[in-house]
Symmetry: C2
Subunit: 232 residues, 2 copies
DNA sequence: TGATATTCTTGACTTTTATCAAGCCATTGA
DNA sequence: TCAATGGCTTGATAAAAGTCAAGAATATCA
């Protein structure tokens, strides 16, 4: 591993407060792996071998069942995935694939469990991390069950706008196909939803989005802190 | 608190391995509260005051948004709720109401956070607990997004049958209205789904269910360990 | 017990979402 | 430059689920 990569990884939130020698020894046991786009990083049903930590790139987490597939989340640098399976030594409930060329820090599951037992700070970090992940997925369940697809899109646009500086203009960070999956609808439905939002001054050209009337959009979206606010 | 209640609570999984004096002091700070049916135990949006632990009774956890409501889970004795909000000192994302007269052990959020910092074993217990809760809700999200309402009902029946001893006969543990909410469908849809399952030898009379051809039912249900198996 | 309320079922209908098919458009690469 | 590929859009249609209304069954309680 390169020196600067190591330096970056030591500062990961997960390692906060952890004894330095432990962090070092955990990192020594880990691999920084490079993956091309489209590669499968984890497969539903397989035993949890590694905790995955995204250093670089975009990863889609999804699940399949009976010829259907659904995207659970799309993650970026600094985020980890399948922590729960690793901690409990169970099989993955979700699969993951790289959306873009990615660099992933792979920490052996065995090491994660070991240091969970050995280091109080690490145990607490994992607890906090899991609590956050839990709340995120509760929000996602509410988003799915309490909203129509049009509302989900409208809220996603508002959230994305806020994330990117609230300028009213931003680019879609991935293909519309992927966005559709992320929002839990067929690509055709996404197309139609975008068309419907034109009435609320949402204009889309390729991957550039322009929200020209945030207030109008908010009226369709009915945003709620208890679903949409990442800080809540 | 009565002596036998105290005894029962000391053995809760959450307290496993925790220093006895800590358990005692945590219990001393807590209340064992009795609630009649229908009472609201926690309300979405309010700051997390207590970790709730069900000693007795049935609790429905649900969320509301914009005139819609959805049930997230129905819990029984030994289960806790809204742990994540307590640990992170955030507001509740879900509400909870008693479905039956219930006794709830209410542990002050402050105490939970304190002992999370103070006692390693408790911190680990919470981590494990959160990991399990996380996986449960991932399964629920998959159940919702990857299945039709008929499939959800069929799988719920199979799971309930297994839970109750696989005799093929069992009683619904709550009103059909509540079951419908639990499965994410309107009561009318549940009625029709039951009617549709008659073709697969499922007979329902009031709250008694009789599964006369498990294999046939499994063919409609397509059960999956990664959604339905509580042990996976 | 009878009165009342609630839950449950069924029918008719609407809305939402998915599916299939065709065509367009942009990107890529020989 | 052109062909090909994959992504995106649009139309037509189907399937799934929700809503409204009415009546039947069941539970609750004075």
């Amino acid at each position: 591993m390169r020196q600067e990569d190591l330096q970056q990884m030591r500062t990961l939130r997960l390692f906060d407060g952890m004894a330095e020698s432990y962090v070092e020894s955990m990192l020594r046991a880990s691999f920084l792996q490079r993956f091309p786009a489209r590669v499968e990083l984890a497969r539903e049903g397989e035993p949890a071998d590694f905790l995955h930590l995204i250093i670089d790139g975009q990863v889609e987490v999804y699940a399949s069942h009976h010829r259907r597939e659904t995207t659970v989340s799309i993650l970026g640098p600094g985020q980890s995935f399948i922590l729960a399976a690793v901690l409990l030594d169970r099989v993955y409930l979700k699969s993951a694939r790289a959306l873009s060329p990615s660099r992933i820090l792979m920490i052996p599951a065995e090491a994660v469990r070991q240091y969970f037992e050995r280091d109080v700070h690490f145990a607490r970090s994992l607890g906090i991390e899991l609590a956050i992940a839990y709340r995120d997925i509760v929000k996602e369940l509410k988003n799915q069950k309490l909203r129509s697809s049009l509302e989900r899109l409208a809220n996603w646009l508002l959230a994305r706008n806020t994330e990117t500086g609230a300028s009213g203009r931003f680019a879609l960070p991935f293909d519309k196909k992927v966005l559709a999956a992320r929002l839990g609808m067929a690509p055709e439905v996404l197309s139609r939803s975008f068309a419907a939002l034109a009435a609320y001054a949402v204009s889309v050209d390729g991957s550039s989005v322009h929200l020209q009337d945030i207030d109008a959009l908010r009226k369709v979206a009915h945003p709620s802190a208890f679903i949409d606010d990442p800080a809540t």
